[in-house]
Structure formats: structure tokens, C-alpha cells
């Protein structure tokens, strides 16, 4: 174990812990744009700089391993000034369009500008102008808003193992692009969108949808495969407008293309909205009231049972539906109708 002092507080941490992690363990909030606990430290944004006794210049706490006896200061007038300048420099090449940005309210850069009270910018000058190449249906890239934190590149490589995007050019011209600057051709898991600290990467389905005003957040479980990812549904009225996942979940906030972007079926116009009855074989479906449909089903089931015995009935419950529904369904067949003819598609 290693003992160090941060802002006057002593802490013991495991070997290999970074100064940033140690600070966070103490509940000290050090600003960053490029750090994510789930990825390797990168040291790109320079916002997490701290002063360490014995070191001539401030260092990035995310890439500095804690050492025994270290004395760290995470806040000082000098650090404040340096951080503010960094944010100003980032904003000097950032479109000032929070009002129409999908990520407003959900943007680390916006939050920093607010924190440092940056309205005017000392560094106004040339701005990047990237061409938009977005023919894919899921991810909108607004590269003028990119802060080159590298989170998207790293998550794609380190977590997803795909490597669909990389860095190109140097200095002011530096940018993150798919090979040859073409449109994205990847698994569309959207991990990059989830980690992007600004509005540079957003979900195409989110555009024009409410951001926070009137939006309800509901924690639930994904309905697709057996991974059981925890998701948060963002809804506005009865519309599902976005799917997120908290990094603290057992799936660590990672989702796949279906879980993250495959939610349109919920509000599909094709949804069944009324009970339908076909009164004779070969006839057409007719709309029916619930009472009518439920009575009809119950009567048919009981009639068949009375005539042919309970084993002339069978039920298929559902690997798609809830435990409670499945329990009640099999109980109805076993206890209510008297047959064990009950199964589901576990075998498909």
C-alpha cells in the first residue's frame, strides 16, 4: 500500500493507483475531459493537472501513479488559471451553439465553461470547418465540436476491439475519422457516442427530440438478448426518445446497437392496439372490446377442455416476457386448465 497526502488529507491506496483515482477516493473533484475509469489513462485534455511537491511543473493526475509520501495539491490559483486557459482554448475553436446542440445539458465542455464563467474568449481566431459525412442511420458526427479527448478512439479500440476510427493530421488540423475520411462502417454499438464529452458524437435518433425539459428517466433492463444489460429509458410523454446506460451497471454502461438504438419498435405505428377476433375459420379479423375478447377466449378454452380433456390444450409462454407473466401463465395452464402442456422457445 502507498500513503500520500492530497489537499492536506492522507490516504492509503493500492500500488498502481493514479493520483486522479486517489483524489476521487477522497471525494475531491478534479476536472477532466478525456478520462474514463473504464479506459486506460491518456493525458490529453490537461485539465486534471495537479501540483506535486518536488515537481517543477504541474502534472496530469490521470497519468501519474501515486507514490509514497507524495504531497499533492489539486487546487490553487495557478491551477485554476491554467485550467481556465485550457477551456478557453478549447472553446476558441468550438461552435457556440449550445442552444441548438443535442448534447446541451449533457456536455462536459458546457459545464466547464459554466464553471469558469467563460463568455468572451481571448483566443478568437480560425475555426475548424469539417465536412459532415453522415449517411449512417445511427451516429451523427459534428466534428467541429470535437475536443480531441480520444475517448471515442480508445473505447472503439480498447473495449469494442473494432478500431473503426483513428486520428489523422496534426495540430490544428488534427481530427478523428474513419479510414480515408469516409462515413462510419462499424458495429454501431454507440460506445463512442456514450463516452463523447461534447456534442461531437450524438445519436441520430435523438436529434430534435427533447433534451431535458419534460424528460423522464426510467431504469430498466434491456429486452433483447440474454446479457441483461441495465438501461435507462429517456421518455417524453409516451415516446421513448433515448436509451442510456450508467457506467456503474454490471454491463459498465456498454450496450450494443440493438440495445442502444433499436428502441423504435416501442412507439411503432404497427403496434397492436385492439383485441381482434376472427369469428369463423377463414374469416376476417374484427375489432372487439376487451371483455368480449377475454370472455370469448375463456369460453373457447373451457369448451375444448370440457369436450376433449385438459391435454387438448397447450400454451407457449415467452422467453421475451417477465418472470411474473410466465409464472402466472404456467399456473393458469397447470392449476386453472389442468395440463402440463406448457413450453416456450428455449430451444430456438
Amino acid at each position: 500500500m502507498i500513503t500520500l497526502t492530497i489537499d492536506g488529507k492522507q490516504i492509503e491506496v493500492a500500488e498502481g493507483t493514479t493520483v486522479l483515482e486517489a483524489s476521487r477516493q477522497l471525494g475531491i473533484d478534479v476536472p477532466t475531459l478525456c478520462h474514463d475509469d473504464r479506459l486506460k489513462p491518456f493525458g490529453a485534455c490537461r485539465l486534471c493537472i495537479v501540483e506535486i511537491s518536488g515537481m517543477a511543473k504541474p502534472v496530469t493526475s490521470c497519468t501519474t501513479p501515486a507514490a509514497n509520501g507524495m504531497v499533492v495539491k489539486t487546487n490553487s490559483e495557478k491551477l485554476y488559471r491554467l485550467r481556465k486557459t485550457t477551456v478557453e482554448l478549447l472553446l476558441s475553436d468550438h461552435p457556440n451553439d449550445c442552444m441548438v446542440c443535442t448534447s446541451s445539458g449533457d456536455c462536459a465542455l458546457q459545464e466547464l465553461a459554466y464553471l469558469y464563467g467563460i463568455r468572451e474568449n481571448r483566443f478568437t481566431g480560425a475555426m475548424r470547418e469539417h465536412n459532415r459525412v453522415d449517411h449512417n442511420p445511427f451516429i451523427t458526427r459534428d466534428q467541429n465540436k470535437c475536443v480531441m479527448c480520444g475517448l471515442c478512439v480508445r473505447v472503439c479500440e480498447e473495449v469494442q476491439g473494432v478500431g473503426a476510427i483513428g486520428y489523422a493530421e496534426r495540430g490544428f488540423e488534427a481530427k478523428v475519422i474513419p479510414p480515408f475520411g469516409k462515413d462510419l462502417d462499424c458495429e454501431f454499438c454507440g460506445q463512442c457516442v456514450a463516452v463523447c464529452p461534447t456534442g461531437a458524437l450524438t445519436g441520430r435518433l435523438w436529434a430534435g427530440k427533447p433534451r431535458l425539459e419534460g424528460v423522464k428517466f426510467t431504469d430498466t433492463t434491456c429486452t433483447y438478448c440474454g446479457c441483461g444489460c441495465n438501461i435507462t429509458l429517456r421518455t417524453h410523454g409516451d415516446q421513448v426518445i433515448r436509451v442510456d446506460s450508467d457506467p456503474k451497471n454490471h454491463n459498465r454502461g456498454w450496450l450494443c446497437v440493438k440495445g442502444r438504438f433499436g428502441y423504435e419498435f416501442i412507439n411503432s405505428g404497427d403496434r397492436l392496439t385492439h383485441p381482434l377476433i376472427r369469428r369463423e375459420k377463414g374469416g376476417q379479423f374484427e375489432k372487439a372490446s376487451w371483455d368480449e375478447a377475454l370472455d370469448y377466449v375463456a369460453k373457447k378454452l373451457t369448451d375444448i377442455k370440457a369436450e376433449n380433456g385438459p391435454d387438448a390444450l397447450a400454451g407457449l409462454c415467452s422467453a421475451r416476457c417477465s418472470n411474473e407473466e410466465n409464472y402466472l401463465f404456467q399456473k393458469m395452464f397447470r392449476a386453472g386448465l389442468g395440463t402440463n402442456n406448457i413450453d416456450h422457445c428455449a430451444r430456438y
Partner: protein
């Protein structure tokens, strides 16, 4: 699941997903994990990045192969022979875990004897995997400090599916790789709540919690709990129901949240069967292929519109919560079932709505492994069964001390060679194998209603090896007619080295070119699964 239950006393993932990252060796067989369980695959990639050795056994060059130390491209349907040959090498080289075998297993001698014919040479001949690679796989798996096996429908959807599962279990037992953290036998469940539907008794032979309907003491317990007499006759499996509908024994069916008219192998046969019923009621959120055949269609609720729980692949019970209202007059499925139940038994208050939490409690009280789980706890955190009491933290991995069989030991089961039912011949010279692709899910009822997913994966295709494409004279994107003894579909060719020569692959999501019109309904005699992964087809331009 029947295979694992025989060997271990219970069938589910023995480990948790997070443990995968700590595996030293990972053996993936019959699972295209990256496309079918994308988030579980992330843990596999994490393990590889940390230095784990990954063995992938799959006839197709699935995306996971890119991360593999060793790829075994065995012929479709030869999984158990491959596994047996690997075990033969382990015994030859003395790599078995003698202490584990002595202390925690039974049936070993008969099993060792059964392995005799499965030499590496024989293995190479049957599976097409070079003998050297079989040896390498044996060494990687058997010498790792902990090794996990991960499999899915590629193992089970065969006529010898139960045997395949037994072979997987044998391999883990032989090397002591079960009952430990990050070492075990892990069937990856294909749907959000297959585990839960099984747990809740959605099976013809067991009540909730895998308690057998034909054991008098258990039947009595449930009769007491439900206040009525119950049948001790094991019911029909879904795959057997088709025949029973056609011969008239089954007259009425209630299908809820499933689309067997597209997902069943040999669908022509099953559609004919559903049409033969006197009465079919389907409860779903869309007018599925199955609902079209129904006499009554009841509009249910999507997962976003109801409260309840799902149990995912790693036995983790988790809440789903209502976020939006259902469209039109669609109702919560629990409510619909409850209403029909009350009307069928002609008792109960129709104005009273069922409460998910109370029904969960009722189920939990009947199954000791879930007895410690309730909604109050689930509000704080999800829990993995077994969780026998409310102060129990849930179980990360199974069988640490004992196996839930009589005597507490795991059972070795001899696995003979069984050939796939339908092998290629002159008339039908290609092997067809089926599966899912990343961008769609099962019969596509949901994903094909997502504009983006449909834009990226708009249509059905058949993967054909370039060598076969040459012979057929077909170019990328040209239409091919693929026929089996059961049906014929027309779809575009995707010329790709993902499939080996003489093998073609078709995803089963697309109703307009439904792969399951071709697949065979030959059935595993033990667990009644159908052989969707191997059948013989003919291809014409």
C-alpha cells in the same frame, strides 16, 4: 439444459459474466458471441487483452476469431467428436485433474472407456480439424489455471444436442474447471428472459424452480400452494406440439410473446399445424406471422410499458419498470393472463389488477433458490440465484462445494458418435447452417421496425464461400435459390470466406426468405430440440 441438469443437477451458467475477464483460457464453441451476446463478448476481449488464451471452435470465421489464439474450424455437426478428441489428448498427456475427478465426480471409468475410439487421428478425420490443433486446444484448455467454456445454440440445436452439452460438461469436469471462480460451463441464453421462463416453470416437465411434475411429493406441494389438484403427466414439448396439432390431439393453443411460425425449424410444417387447430389465441405486440393464423389476437405490452423482472443469462434477477403507456387499448400481459385465468376458473375479482411484486413473492416462496429475492431488495440491487434467504448476497458462481445431485457429485456421461440427421448428398450437396446477425434479433418483429437497423441490414442473404460461388457462377448480390427437402427460398448471395466451402449460412430473421422453411425438424430425442444448425440444401442460380 437437460444435459447439464443430468450432470450437475442444475442447468444454467455456472459463472458470472464479469468473471470472464479473469479467465486464463476461454473456449467458445457454438456461439457467435460478438453478434449474439455483444456485451458478454466485450468481457472476452478484455480477458484476451489481459493475456487470456482464446480458443474458438466454429465452422464460420465469426468475428471473435480475430481475437483467438486458436481457431478450430470443425465441420458442422461434429462438435462432440471434437470435444471427445480433445479429452482423449488430455488423458494421453496426463493433463486431467485427478484430485477433482476423485473428490467431486462419478462415472469416470465408464467415461474413460467411452473415449477410447476418439483418437486425434479419428478426430481429424471426422471434424476436419488438424490433429495438431486438437492437441494445442487440449493443452491450452487443460493447463490454464482456470478455464471457462461458453456455448450457445451452435451446440444445442442439433439432433445430438444433449450429447454435445454432455461433452462440454465432461471436458470441464475432466480438468476440474467447474465449481470455481472464472472456471465453468456457461450456456449463453439467447433471449432476455429464457432463463426466467425456464425458472418460472415454462417447461412441460417441471413446476417453477425445476421441480418435477411427476414426483408425488412435489406435486402435493404445488397442489397445496395452488389449492387445486394437478396433473402428474409430463406435458408436450413445443417441438412435439406440432405433431399433436396435426394429429388432432391438440385442439386449442394460447401463444404469448412468441413467433413460432417464423422461428420454428421446418415452418411449413408448423404453419400447417397451427392452422389445423380449432382455436388459437396469440398475445403479442405486433401482428406476427403466428398472430396472422390466430382466431383471437390480444394486444400486449412491450417491456417499456410494464413492471416485472427478467432473469438474464448469469442467473441475475433484475427489475423492468414501466416508463410509458401502451398504445391504444393494449394492456399489460400480466393483466391479460390474470383476466383469462379468472374467467377460466370462474372465480376471483375481475376488477382487481394483479401486482407484479406479489406474484414474484408467490413464485419465490415455492422455489428455495429464489426465496431470498423480493422487490424491496431488487430496488437496491439485482441478485443472482441461488439466493435462499433475505440476508444472502446471491451466488456469483455455482457448485463451489457440492453439486445438487444425490451424493453431491457431478456425473461423467459417455458421449458416442452420432451423425447429423441430414448429411449432404448428390441431390442436396451443401450444408446449411443458420443463426442471427448483429443488427437483427430473432424473427425481426422488433428490429425490423427500427429504421436504422433495417437500413444497415435490409435483406436476407446467403453466405457462400468464393470457391462455391465460382462453381455456381454467382457474383456478390446475385439471387440464388436455396432449396432443401422441405422448402425453397430466393435470396441474395453474399460471397464470403466467413463460411468454409460446401457450407452456407442464412440468418433466420427475414420472413420474406425464411431460413426455417429449409431447416429440418429432426429432433434430439432427449431434450426435444430441433436440428436447426445442420441440414442439406441445393443451390441454383
Amino acid at each position: 439444459m437437460a444435459g447439464l441438469a443430468t450432470k450437475f443437477g442444475s442447468g444454467a451458467m455456472t459463472n458470472s459474466v464479469a468473471e470472464i475477464a479473469d479467465n486464463e483460457a476461454i473456449f467458445v464453441i457454438g456461439s457467435n458471441t460478438t453478434e449474439n451476446h455483444p456485451i458478454i463478448a466485450l468481457r472476452m476481449k478484455e480477458a484476451v487483452a489481459k493475456g487470456a488464451q482464446l480458443i474458438v471452435a466454429d465452422p464460420r470465421k465469426i468475428p471473435l476469431v480475430k481475437f483467438a489464439t486458436l481457431w478450430l474450424r470443425h465441420r458442422p455437426g461434429t462438435d462432440s467428436t471434437l470435444l471427445n478428441a480433445i479429452m482423449h489428448v488430455i488423458l494421453d498427456e496426463g493433463l486431467e485433474d485427478k484430485d477433482f475427478i476423485a473428490a467431486r465426480t462419478e462415472g469416470y471409468d465408464a467415461f474413460v472407456q467411452s473415449l477410447e475410439p476418439f483418437t486425434v487421428e479419428y478426430g481429424e478425420e471426422i471434424t476436419g480439424v488438424p490433429a495438431e490443433d486438437i492437441k494445442k486446444a487440449a493443452r491450452i484448455y487443460a493447463t490454464a489455471g482456470n478455464a471457462g467454456i461458453y456455448y450457445a445454440m451452435g451446440i444445442t440445436q442439433h439432433i445430438m444436442g444433449t450429447y454435445n452439452v454432455c461433452a462440454v460438461g465432461n471436458l470441464a469436469m475432466l480438468t476440474g474447471n467447474v465449481g470455481k471462480r472464472a472456471a465453468g460451463v456457461n450456456p449463453l441464453r439467447g433471449q432476455n428472459n429464457v432463463q426466467g421462463a425456464c425458472d418460472m416453470g415454462g417447461l412441460p416437465n417441471v413446476y417453477p424452480g425445476y421441480q418435477k411434475v411427476d414426483v408425488p411429493a412435489i406435486k402435493e406441494k404445488f397442489e397445496k400452494a395452488w389449492g387445486t389438484s394437478l396433473s402428474d403427466k409430463i406435458g408436450l414439448a413445443a417441438t412435439e406440439m406440432t405433431g399433436a396439432m396435426l394429429d388432432g390431439t391438440l385442439k386449442g393453443m394460447y401463444i404469448f410473446g412468441e413467433n413460432p411460425a417464423l422461428s420454428d425449424p421446418n415452418t411449413t410444417h408448423s404453419v400447417k399445424a397451427f392452422s389445423a387447430l380449432d382455436f388459437l389465441v396469440v398475445q403479442d405486440i405486433f401482428m406476427t406471422e403466428t398472430a396472422r393464423l390466430a382466431d383471437v389476437v390480444l394486444p400486449g405490452a412491450s417491456f417499456a410499458e410494464k413492471d416485472g423482472t427478467f432473469t438474464c443469462s448469469e442467473r441475475r434477477v433484475q427489475r423492468i419498470r414501466k416508463a410509458v403507456n401502451s398504445p391504444g387499448s393494449a394492456q399489460s400481459d400480466l393483466n391479460i393472463i390474470d383476466q383469462i385465468y379468472k374467467r377460466v376458473v370462474a372465480s376471483g375479482d375481475l376488477t382487481e389488477k394483479p401486482k407484479a411484486a406479489a406474484i414474484f413473492d408467490e413464485a419465490a416462496a415455492l422455489w428455495p433458490a429464489m426465496a431470498g429475492i423480493n422487490y424491496e431488495r431488487l430496488e437496491q440491487q439485482s441478485l443472482q440465484w441461488p439466493c435462499p434467504s433475505t440476508d444472502h448476497p446471491g451466488t456469483e458462481f455455482l457448485f463451489q462445494d457440492t453439486f445438487p445431485r444425490e451424493g453431491g457429485k457431478a456425473l461423467f456421461t459417455p458421449v458416442p458418435f452420432v451423425s447429423s440427421k441430414e448429411l449432404p448428398d448428390k441431390e442436396y450437396p451443401y450444408v446449411l447452417t443458420t443463426g442471427r446477425e448483429l443488427f437483427h434479433y430473432h424473427t425481426g418483429t422488433m428490429t425490423r421496425r427500427s429504421s436504422g437497423l433495417n437500413m444497415i441490414a435490409p435483406e436476407a442473404f446467403v453466405e457462400v464461400n468464393p470457391a462455391d460461388a465460382d462453381v455456381l457462377g454467382v457474383a456478390q448480390g446475385e439471387f440464388l435459390t436455396v432449396s432443401s427437402r422441405r422448402g425453397s427460398i430466393k435470396l441474395k448471395a453474399r460471397v464470403s470466406k466467413i463460411v468454409p466451402p460446401n457450407v452456407v449460412f442464412i440468418p433466420f430473421h427475414y420472413s420474406e426468405a425464411a431460413a426455417n422453411l429449409l431447416t429440418s425438424d429432426a429432433m434430439d430425442p432427449i431434450c426435444k430440440i430441433m436440428e436447426a444448425k445442420v441440414c442439406a440444401v441445393r443451390i441454383e442460380k
